[in-house]
């Protein structure tokens, strides 16, 4: 009797271990907690179903921003990081300096069936440090201009195709905000004026539209760049001062002002597209759309970041070739299935998907997809990147400047001093 139990137990153990050997698990961390997180979970479950007897992704979603990136650092240091993770392209310079990421070699790219030609130059470059790849881009997520079609129609700001018109040029844009307000909105535009980190994306875009750059020749705000930053700040401060933009508004309030019809425009990331799509589906939203940021100054330019996949360089641990192959297979699968990821608003990084007929029929993505021709990413320094060192400096001076508490020129002077002091 006792012998029988032992025999059964041994048999069971043998069975479990053989199946474990045959099936590779891939531990995955991401920071996708919003509407795009739901879509990513769908992709992961599709992958697991398709590869039921070979690979299983075990995914965990962690808190976006500083908590995520701190946990990655500490876990890599003790060899407890996951097999793969999502990573912002803007954080890659810092990650490489900290030795957190494994290089993605040309052989890896061959194994995934992907190559440089499959990506837009700016996106590819964002994952490159000293000619080496450290991540595989999944998407590009720029900021865009959301608009309330009903209000714009009333204000006479739509062309015959139903798209907003007459927004180019700083003066025209301000006039358009005024018309939209006159058409019954409380504000022309909802701006995240209480959060400088967020507004950095808009301000940096407007700076770039004047040909300005944040970091050149190893210095922050060198040459005539301070004047360009001040002009961008002053433009936005002027909207608030004229009552066209909501003052001291935090992120959730900004989205709420727009979705409740109190603001005609909103500049926000494409990741809010699922929010609009879902509200509209439930009949709780007006007619809406999203377009590329208008050209307020000399040229078109929009800030973007990119979600990428990266493989942590766990200390004191080497990945088995089988596990490595499985991780590459997951990344490759995600690239080839990124059409569904586009429903989260993002523009897939994998070009064949963007060029497909299905993507070209997808709205509003197809409307703003041309933005990829004029994108600017974060400056390539370990000090930049989402939730990175420059964030606090920007926020501290952007908030008072946007709300008329601090003169833009004064703000820029302080920003320049503090940024250069960070080095």
């Amino acid at each position: 009797m006792f012998k029988n139990i032992i025999r059964t137990a041994m048999l069971a153990t043998a069975l479990i271990s053989t199946s474990a050997f045959a099936k590779e698990t891939v531990v995955w961390w991401d920071f996708l907690g919003g509407g795009d997180g739901v879509r990513m979970k769908q992709l992961i479950s599709d992958f697991n179903k398709e590869n039921a007897d070979k690979i299983e992704i075990q995914a965990t979603t962690l808190e976006w921003g500083v908590p995520f990136y701190t946990k990655v650092q500490t876990s890599v240091a003790v060899g407890e990081a996951p097999d793969m993770m999502t990573y912002h392209a803007s954080r890659i310079p810092l990650a490489v300096k900290q030795g957190l990421l494994q290089q993605i070699t040309p052989d890896d790219y061959k194994a995934m069936g992907l190559s440089q030609n499959d990506y837009a130059a700016a996106t590819w470059d964002a994952a490159t440090i000293d000619g080496k790849q450290y991540a595989v881009p999944l998407d590009t997520h720029p900021i865009v201009l959301y608009y309330n079609k009903d209000l714009l129609a009333k204000a006479g700001l739509l062309d015959d195709k139903g798209l907003p018109t007459g927004l180019d040029g700083a003066d025209n844009f301000k006039a358009a905000l005024g018309k939209a307000k006159a058409a019954g909105a409380k504000y022309g535009i909802a701006g995240v004026t209480a959060d400088g980190n967020f507004m950095y994306r808009t301000i940096y875009s407007l700076m770039c539209q004047q040909g300005g750059e944040l970091y050149t020749n190893g210095k922050f705000l060198d040459g005539d760049n301070p004047a360009k930053l001040a002009k961008a700040l002053a433009t936005i401060a002027d909207w608030t001062k004229s009552g066209l933009q909501s003052g001291y508004t935090d992120y959730p309030s900004t989205v709420a002002l727009f979705t409740s019809g109190q603001a005609a425009f909103m500049i926000n990331g494409v990741w809010e597209v699922p929010t609009m799509t879902d509200l509209k589906k439930n009949g709780k939203l007006f007619e809406w759309g999203a377009i590329e940021l208008p050209k307020l100054f000399d040229k078109k330019c929009t800030y973007a970041d990119s979600h990428t996949f990266a493989i942590p360089a766990n200390k004191g641990k080497t990945m088995t070739p089988e596990k490595h192959a499985a991780v590459l297979q997951v990344i490759s699968w995600m690239a080839h299935h990124s059409l569904f990821w586009a429903t989260a608003g993002h523009i897939p990084a994998y070009k064949p998907v963007v060029e497909s007929a299905e993507f070209k029929a997808m709205q509003p993505n197809a409307t703003y997809a041309p933005v990829t021709a004029s994108l600017i990413f974060d400056p390539k320094t370990p000090l930049a990147g989402v939730a990175g060192p420059i964030f606090n400096v920007m926020s501290t001076y952007f908030v008072p400047a946007q709300n008329g508490e601090l003169d833009p020129n004064e703000a820029v002077k302080k920003i320049k001093d503090e940024l250069n002091n960070l080095q």
């Binding site: 500083v66 701190t70 650092q73 500490t74 890599v76 240091a77 810092l94 900290q98 995240v192 209480a194 959060d195 400088g196 980190n197 967020f198 909501s246 003052g247 001291y248 508004t249 935090d250 992120y251 309030s253 709420a256 002002l257 370990p382 939730a387 990175g388 060192p389 964030f391 606090n392 400096v393 926020s395 501290t396 001076y397 908030v399 008072p400 709300n403 508490e405 503090e418 960070l422």
Partner: protein, 295 residues
């Protein structure tokens, strides 16, 4: 001789070893490491090169350290004594109640203390949010322009101090109540027989006899508020973090956002020394204020 001493010491030793081991591992060892780290240029994770006193030298020219020091001091001034005073007033009032009513009222005042800081943040953001806060509608109704409470330097610290008092005074209240109950009823009876007024009773009996408890509450509050972090961090998200920064938050920024482990450790050592000095000074002051030591 030695063996005799050993015989009488080995048993207590065995009993305190687990405590000593854990205390050494999670307190003494990290503290020493912090001092060592402050003399290196280490990043957040990993070791660095010895750089002598340069981290400290840099602190002298660091304008943000001054901002952090001032904000921390300002917060202590706004929260320690006012917080203790509010708790004492409530304790005196609650003490006049009796039975179930007293227990119920005490529970109501204690309730905020059990709420985690993230919930405190959400509740107050819900009230004071510039665009959608319910408190702002009251201002509108009264015809007062809205105030961006957590986004301007003027209002930030006072608001966070008031919220902290609301949140934590329940604990001080309990300590004060215990102190009040420890004062013998006979003394009050004797005072009543002498026709002492309520104010005289408080000034001559309650206040001096309660003094050791008051000193304890003030010391606990002082140490706690010098280490303020959570509320300030949460309320300043996205606002003006560098203008409203406090000491512990500065350490956090430097270590976790700017990736400077060594420099962060130097700030931490500075705060460590400040807490020790301020606490010692406060203790001496309280001792003097409570009358000469009765020997």
């Amino acid at each position: 001789m030695i063996s005799k001493a050993f015989k009488s010491y080995w048993f207590p030793l065995v009993l305190i070893v687990p405590f000593l081991a854990i205390y050494g591992l999670i307190f003494i060892y990290p503290t020493i490491s912090m001092f060592v780290l402050s003399f290196t240029d280490a990043p957040l994770i990993g070791s660095g090169n010895f750089v002598g006193l340069s981290n400290y030298a840099r602190l002298f020219h660091d304008p943000r350290l001054l901002v952090a020091l001032w904000n921390t001091a300002y917060f202590v001034i706004l929260s320690v004594i006012p917080g203790a005073a509010v708790a004492l007033l409530i304790a005196l009032a609650v003490q006049r109640l009796s039975g179930r009513l007293q227990a119920a009222v005490m529970a109501l005042f204690f309730l905020p203390f059990i709420v985690p800081v993230s919930v405190v943040y959400l509740i107050w953001d819900w009230i004071l949010n510039y665009q959608f806060g319910i408190g702002m509608h009251w201002l509108d109704a009264l015809g007062i322009p809205r105030v961006p409470v957590f986004k301007t330097v003027t209002w930030f610290m006072p608001a966070v101090a008031i919220i902290t008092i609301w949140w934590t005074c329940g604990f001080s209240l309990l300590v004060f109540l215990a102190g009040l109950r420890a004062i013998p009823a006979e003394i009050y009876e004797a005072a009543a027989l002498d026709n002492a007024s309520r104010w005289t009773t408080f000034r001559r009996i309650t206040w001096p006899l309660l003094w050791p408890v008051t000193a304890l509450v003030l010391t606990i509050q002082l140490i706690l508020q010098l280490k303020i972090f959570d509320q300030v961090y949460l309320f300043s998200t996205g606002g003006r973090p560098n203008d409203t920064v406090v000491m512990v938050q500065y350490i956090f920024q430097m270590a976790f956002q700017d990736d400077h482990g060594g420099r962060a450790a130097a700030v931490a050592v500075t705060l460590f020394l400040i807490v020790i000095v301020v606490t010692l000074v406060e203790f001496q002051l309280l001792r003097l204020a409570g009358g000469a030591p009765k020997k």
